[in-house]
Structure formats: C-alpha cells, structure tokens
C-alpha cells in the first residue's frame, strides 16, 4: 500500500480573469519509508502541493489516496479527522502554542484524537525523549531555543502515529548547526520507518534526502534520486 497516490491532481484559485492554475494534472507516488524533498522556486506550486498533501486544502480535481484511503473528496470534520490521524505537520516557524508547555503541545493532537490522559502523558514523554528533550518537557516555547522548539514540533507531529511526516522549510528559521541537527533527527526517524516529505527551496536540505521532486509552474519537472540533483 502506497502512502501517497496522487492522480491528475489540479488546484485552481479564483474565477474568470483571476483564475490561477496553481497545480496542473500532477501525478505522484510515495512508498512507505521514503524520504523525499519537494523543491521549487516560489510560485512553483509547492505550497499548494503541500496544502493538498497535508489535507489543509482540497483539490479542484483529480484524486488523492493517502495510506490507501481516497481523501480527495473529504470535507470539514472528516478532513480534520483524516489530518489528525494520518498527517504530522512540521512548520518553518514551529507553530507551538506559546502558553502550553512542551509536554502540553505534544499532547494536543492526542486531546483532539480523544486519547486518555495517562496514555497522552506516556506517549508525549516518550516522544520528547526520542527527540532529546525529556528534561525540557515542562518548559514553555519561549524558554526554548529554535532547534528545541522544532524538536517539540516534530514530537507533536509524530504523536498520533501519522502515515506521513510533512515538513515545510523545517530548517528555514534555524542556524546551520541546529538545522543540521533537525535533519539528523529526520534521518533517524526515517531510518526507523517514518515516511518524511520535506518541502524546501534549500538545495542542501534536498541533498540529505533520498528523492527530489522538482516543481515549476504547477508541474513536476523532475523526480529523481537525490544524488542526481
């Protein structure tokens, strides 16, 4: 079973004169355990693709099968539930809730999934340990460094056991050292079987992955193992 199977995925914004085709007839497969970078300059449609893959937005046409389930026609709460259960998001600006502790932030997706308090605590602490922040569990985001916040965000993304870890410029706000550490962490997670898709315009980030998909003007222009890039 493939993690992602996208067929003729198209996204159109606006109508009439304002009509913009952000993504045109895109086909893409992602197998379990892959580590992929989606690259492209701004305006290439990579944000649109990420929103579609991440179930934040719905395609205008085409089909999208995530983990064997056709999710392209889901709306509202069904979409939110699929997102909760199948996708783990990592954002460029971390997007942690500043008033919740690291632990609280990691527990949040499980709250929405209806996981019990004890189980929540256990899983969240386990994942904070995996990302190397066990002793910072009760710190709030403002008390953490950028790299640490991104680790909390990664722990949060993994906590509901998603089919796909989807990262949007995950090292964009980090210095080189912290950025490299985050990429190390992705590599470790990928080695343990997590499927990772990174959206980036940074060639160095792409070089760390196994496969690079390149977008331009809403179409895939290259899809090759990363050594070739």
């Amino acid at each position: 079973m493939r993690v992602i199977e996208a067929r003729e995925l198209t996204k159109v914004y606006g109508r009439g004169e304002n009509r913009v085709e952000a993504l045109t007839g895109m086909n893409m497969n992602v197998e379990p355990g892959e580590w992929i970078a989606i690259m492209g300059p701004s305006g290439s449609g990579k944000s649109t693709l990420m929103n579609l893959i991440g179930l934040l937005d719905r395609p205008t046409s085409g089909s999208y099968t995530l983990n064997g389930r056709d999710v392209s026609r889901l709306r509202g709460s069904e979409l939110a539930r699929a997102r909760r259960d199948l996708i783990g998001f990592v954002f460029q600006s971390y997007n942690l809730l500043p008033r919740e502790s690291a632990l609280g932030n990691v527990e949040l997706p499980m709250v929405y999934a209806g996981v019990g308090r004890k189980e929540r605590r256990k899983r969240a602490l386990g994942l904070l340990e995996t990302v190397g922040l066990a002793e910072r569990a009760h710190h709030r985001p403002p008390e953490l460094s950028g790299g640490q916040m991104q680790r909390v965000a990664i722990a949060r993304a993994l906590v509901n056991g998603p089919a796909l870890l989807l990262a949007d410029e995950p090292t964009g706000n980090l210095d080189t050292v912290s950025g490299a550490e985050i990429l190390d962490l992705f590599e470790e997670l990928n080695a343990s079987g997590v499927t990772v898709v990174v959206v980036t315009h940074d060639a160095e980030v792409a070089a760390r992955t196994q496969r690079v998909v390149e977008l331009r003007d809403g179409r895939i222009v290259a899809d090759e193992p990363s050594e070739v890039v």
């Binding site: 929103n51 991440g54 934040l56 937005d57 509202g76 709460s77 939110a80 539930r81 997102r83 909760r84 259960d85 998001f89 954002f91 997007n95 942690l96 809730l97 008033r99 949040l108 997706p109 709250v111 929405y112 999934a113 209806g114 019990g116 308090r117 949060r156 993304a157 509901n160």
Partner: protein, 393 residues
C-alpha cells in the same frame, strides 16, 4: 467526555491569557446580573410585605358595601345615596350556610363631653370576624356597652386600659359602660382597620339617626369557600333588594389579586430594566470574543492543522464565552444577594427578598447570554480555513 473537559480547559486558559480584559468584559455581566437580582429582590420584597400583611388580616373575610358601578348609571345621586344595606340584610347574610358569622358596621361619631370620637356600631361577632385585639376586658355584647381605643380611654377617662373598664362614659347624656379597651393597632395594609371605638349596632343606629347599616362584614366558613360564600351573599342580597345589585361583595382575594398583580408587574418591570444592562453586558462579551478570535487566528490555524475539527474549535470558544458569563453571573448573584441582605440592615423600610427562582433565572440567563453572544465569535473561529489562518501573523 475527557476530551470535552480538556477543551473546556482550553477555554479557561484562553481567559487567563488576558486576565484584565476578561475581568473587564465580565464586569458587564456582573453588573447586569447584580441589577436583575437586586431589583427583582426589591419587587419580591414589596410583594411579600403586602401579601403578608393582607393574609394576616384574615383571608376568610367578606366585605359587603353599598353602591355599585351599575347604580351610577341611575344618575349622579345614585352612587352616593344613603346606604342600601339594612339590619335584615345582616340577618340574611348570617343565615347562609357558607357564612360563619356576619356583623353590621355602622360608622358614626359620638359626642362625649366636649370631644367627638369616631365610633362604630357592630354586632358581637365583629370581634371574631375582624380579629379585634383587646388590651383588656371584653368586646361589646349588649346595648349600653362600649369598647374604647386606648388613646380615647386615656383622654376621656384619664385612666390606663385596666382602670377604664367598669367606668361609665356619657354620650349625649346617656351612660355607657366601658367593658374593654382596644389594643393599639399597628398600621397595616389591606382594608383599613378603622381607628374607632365600638358600641352596639342598635345604639349606633339610634345615635346617628341612620336607618341603614354602613357596611356588612362576614366570615366564610373556610378560606376555600370564600368565593362560594361571596356568590351566595350576592345572590341572596340581590333577591332581597328586588333584583337590584346596589351593593358590592369584596373578598380579600380580590384585594390580594390586585396587589399581587401590581407587584408582579413591578417585579417584571424592574427585572426588565435590569435585563437591558445584562444585554449590554452580553454585547460586551461578544465584542471581546470577536477580538479574541481575530487575535488568535494563527492559534486556531495551528489547532486545525494538528487535527482539531470545526466543532472542537467552536466548543473551545463557546466555552470561553460561557465561562466569562457564568463566572460573571455567579459574581453578580453573590453581589446581588449580599446587597439585598444588607439593604434592610441600612434601612428596615426597604423590603428585599431574593427568591431561588430569581437566582436560578439570573444564572440561566447569564449562561444563555454567554451562549447567544458566544456563538457568533465561536462560529467565526470554527469556520476559519486552516490555510488562511496559518498564513496570518
């Protein structure tokens, strides 16, 4: 359930973010609920004071007075014409099975020495019907006896209540034996207990020269049979008066219901005025919640991205508004109950009475205000598109 509780907790922590602002917007609800509680408490207090005094007078009471709105149609003189009630009418009322006792009531004035004192001629059963309290002695039972007011006894006989009994009072040259002295009557609501001394009906009729009695007072067998008694009295007297209804039969219930109606309206009016401030408070809550949703657009986007459904977000903000109004409501109830308890301490004339109903109602209304004015902001937050919300700074 655990999930809902946790989401409610998120609502609470949302309030804590901006404590000062939350407290200020809550103040509108506090004042609104406080006003509702206090003003309805005043309304209820007035009502209880009035009905309490009224029922104390005797709820079995029937008052039969001459004159009727119908009679006014007969000309200007008809209404104020001499009493149409006779001694025979008293007997007829008394003979009815639903009537326990009846007495005439003949108002007159007695000239004793150089002073004129208000005097009412009554039958012996009057004392029982109107619950006349005596300081000493007994009530008038026979002709030639009088019962005096305390003040009159002191004034005319220069003696205290005890010494007055047994003395003789000369009225228009005729001697009357003082057989009792009245207790000082406290001013009360309801049909006024006349400040008067009492003598026998026949003596009063003779003294005043009037042919008819001024009023008939009667007592129904029980509080439950008052209405039936009133109907029977009406029918009996109407037939005795040749089919003319030239009299009025009043019961305490009529009076009570008029007062209750007035005070109910008063309470509703006061509560209504106070509700306007509650409404204003609710609009304040809506305003602050809209600001809060706008400020936290990105947070909402994040929550949705990590799996919150529209309903989850809706509930979070609805809980937040609800908590604002409920906490405000409780504070307002506390304040209202406190001030209601304090007011009579400051000035005993102010009657207040906080009823359980008004507390439950105030609490319910503040919850409703939270729901109604929280729905729009909460709905707006729930409908935010995650992509849009995440883009916001």
């Amino acid at each position: 359930m655990g999930k809902m509780l946790r989401i409610a907790g998120m609502g609470l922590s949302g309030l804590m973010v901006n404590r000062g602002r939350s407290a200020l917007s809550m103040l509108g609800i506090v004042i609104g609920v406080f006003a509702v509680i206090l003003l309805t408490s005043l309304g209820n207090g007035v009502q209880e004071a009035i009905t309490g005094k009224l029922t104390g007078v005797g709820s079995n009471l029937l008052l039969i007075s001459p004159g009727n709105s119908e009679a006014q149609g007969d000309g200007p003189l008809a209404a104020r014409s001499a009493s149409t009630l006779t001694r025979e009418d008293v007997e007829k009322v008394r003979s009815l099975p639903t009537v326990a006792a009846a007495s005439a009531s003949v108002p007159t004035a007695a000239l004793a020495g150089t002073k004129t004192i208000p005097m009412t001629g009554v039958d012996p059963s009057y004392a029982q019907i109107r619950s006349v309290d005596l300081a000493t002695g007994r009530f008038v039972e026979h002709s030639g006896e009088v019962v005096l007011e305390t003040a009159v006894a002191k004034d005319l006989l220069k003696s205290g209540p005890k010494d007055a009994v047994g003395q003789t009072l000369k009225i228009r040259g005729k001697g009357y034996e003082v057989v009792g002295v009245l207790e000082v009557v406290e001013p009360a609501f309801g049909p006024p207990v006349p400040e008067t001394s009492y003598m026998n009906t026949d003596d009063a009729l003779a003294l005043s020269g009037a042919g008819n009695v001024g009023q008939i007072v009667a007592e129904a067998r029980s509080a439950g049979s008052v209405d039936r008694a009133a109907k029977e009295v009406g029918a009996r007297l109407k037939s005795a008066h040749g089919g003319r209804e030239d009299f009025n039969v009043e019961t305490q219930k009529d009076l009570l219901s008029v007062f209750t109606l007035v005070t109910d309206l008063l309470t509703i009016l006061l509560g209504g005025i106070a509700s306007i401030s509650l409404l204003v408070g609710g609009i304040g809550i809506m305003n602050i919640m809209l600001v809060s949703v706008a400020e936290r657009t990105r947070e909402i986007g994040v929550r949705k991205a990590i799996g919150a459904t529209d309903t989850d977000v809706l509930f979070q903000f609805l809980f937040e508004a609800l908590l604002l109004t409920l906490i405000g409501g409780l504070a307002g109830i506390g304040l209202g109950v406190g001030v209601s308890a304090l007011l009579p301490e400051i000035n005993p004339i102010i009657p207040t009475s906080v009823t359980g109903t008004s507390i439950v109602l105030a609490f319910g209304v503040s919850a409703l205000v939270g729901l109604v004015f929280g729905v729009l902001p909460a709905y707006r937050s729930a409908r935010l598109e995650p992509v849009e919300a995440l883009r916001r700074e």
